[in-house]
Symmetry: C2
Subunit: 253 residues, 2 copies
Amino acid sequence: MRLTRAQVDQYRALRRKEGRAATGEFLLEGWRALTAAIAADAPIVDVAVRTDEVDRPELEPLKKRGTAIGTISERDLGRISATEHAQGVVARVKIVRHQIGALFGPGDRLLLALVAVSDPGNVGTIIRTADWFGAGGVLLGRGCVEPFNEKVVRATAGSLFHIPIVDEVELLEVLAQAKATGFRVVVAAAGGSVSLSDWRPAKRNVLVVGSEAHGVSADIRDSADVTLAIPRYGRAESLNAGVAAAILLAHTR
Amino acid sequence: MRLTRAQVDQYRALRRKEGRAATGEFLLEGWRALTAAIAADAPIVDVAVRTDEVDRPELEPLKKRGTAIGTISERDLGRISATEHAQGVVARVKIVRHQIGALFGPGDRLLLALVAVSDPGNVGTIIRTADWFGAGGVLLGRGCVEPFNEKVVRATAGSLFHIPIVDEVELLEVLAQAKATGFRVVVAAAGGSVSLSDWRPAKRNVLVVGSEAHGVSADIRDSADVTLAIPRYGRAESLNAGVAAAILLAHTR
């Protein structure tokens, strides 16, 4: 069935934060992302496929499940999609909200917390890197970009479905809770007191990374068990937040 | 002196590759980048400043040196600048070409080579990370974005002036030359034969990183002394090229 104008508008509304908040859904674009969502058993509401692509094998599992699959014109797809070259498919997916407490379960654990990282591509890449290194979750403090922003979703390349993400986190409070359940709070900071090369990770770590421009606030720094510096050998002024997070995650593993 | 229309057009031409090739100059935008260029004694041809910013202290060293400083309207600046919020200053800078041979000098050395990494933000971030870790140079193989593309320049955040970059490199040939001068060619590859955690760097290393989508070609892989895999603990399909490069550089240090 061809999507009605009203249905196209429902998809389109998910490009804006207000639209996502009102519906509790977000927009997924492209075949790779859809395949990752299906593989992860994500709550796909419905799918809109460009007319010439309705027979794509990627859709089989959805057809079996009875998920609604509509068709859409190239032009309407262009109106929904944020990318220049729309990839032939969009989907509406329910936003799954995770409880922070669930991230604090027993055993060895690695969590990543971001302080006010606002660049969507950066946050998406960081979520993907956290997934690669098997982190148990990503905490996005206030001032971080929303994880269901289409650019974040795209940059996660499916990892959004692999790893619990909690946003709008009151970090100071949550880091205190983490400590109470045995986590070490490890804050990356220029001028940190311990060099990364000398640091031995504990069994339960929350790695905290700030934005490149603003770093980590003094109160969060004060809450750290360790402030870690990535040693510099050259002349660059700073490291990109995604790069800093990746180096910390790799080192912890 | 106010820039003439023709001068504004000269600046504007540097946004395109052809304009850069014809003049041997590239465009620098913003106060941070300009300050980095001055500190690194980069060959600044001339500068155009928004009328209300002519007294900025950052310009003092240029005034002493007698570098031409013109004024420009907000509107003309907007025509030159690629960023939405032009930062009040643009400069034309001579492109410095480095000889590959100079990167192969004696002693301990760390070089980074990129295979067909086309995303400008990625390449810029990688150049900055290479600078942070004191790499002796970055080799951009064919298919990589041009390093004087404005988005690359911006993402390097000044590191472009700290570290020699050679582009349009015939990598196979150059990796063979590097080997002949005692370098180990270390290729990052999914399914690499050595895990990063088991790898001990040699004294002279060329780290080779491919694009996320296409990786590294078979002939380059074959030329490697070591193929390295970054161990995966989670479910992400791949790592961003910038992240992979950063993890390798950090580990080598």
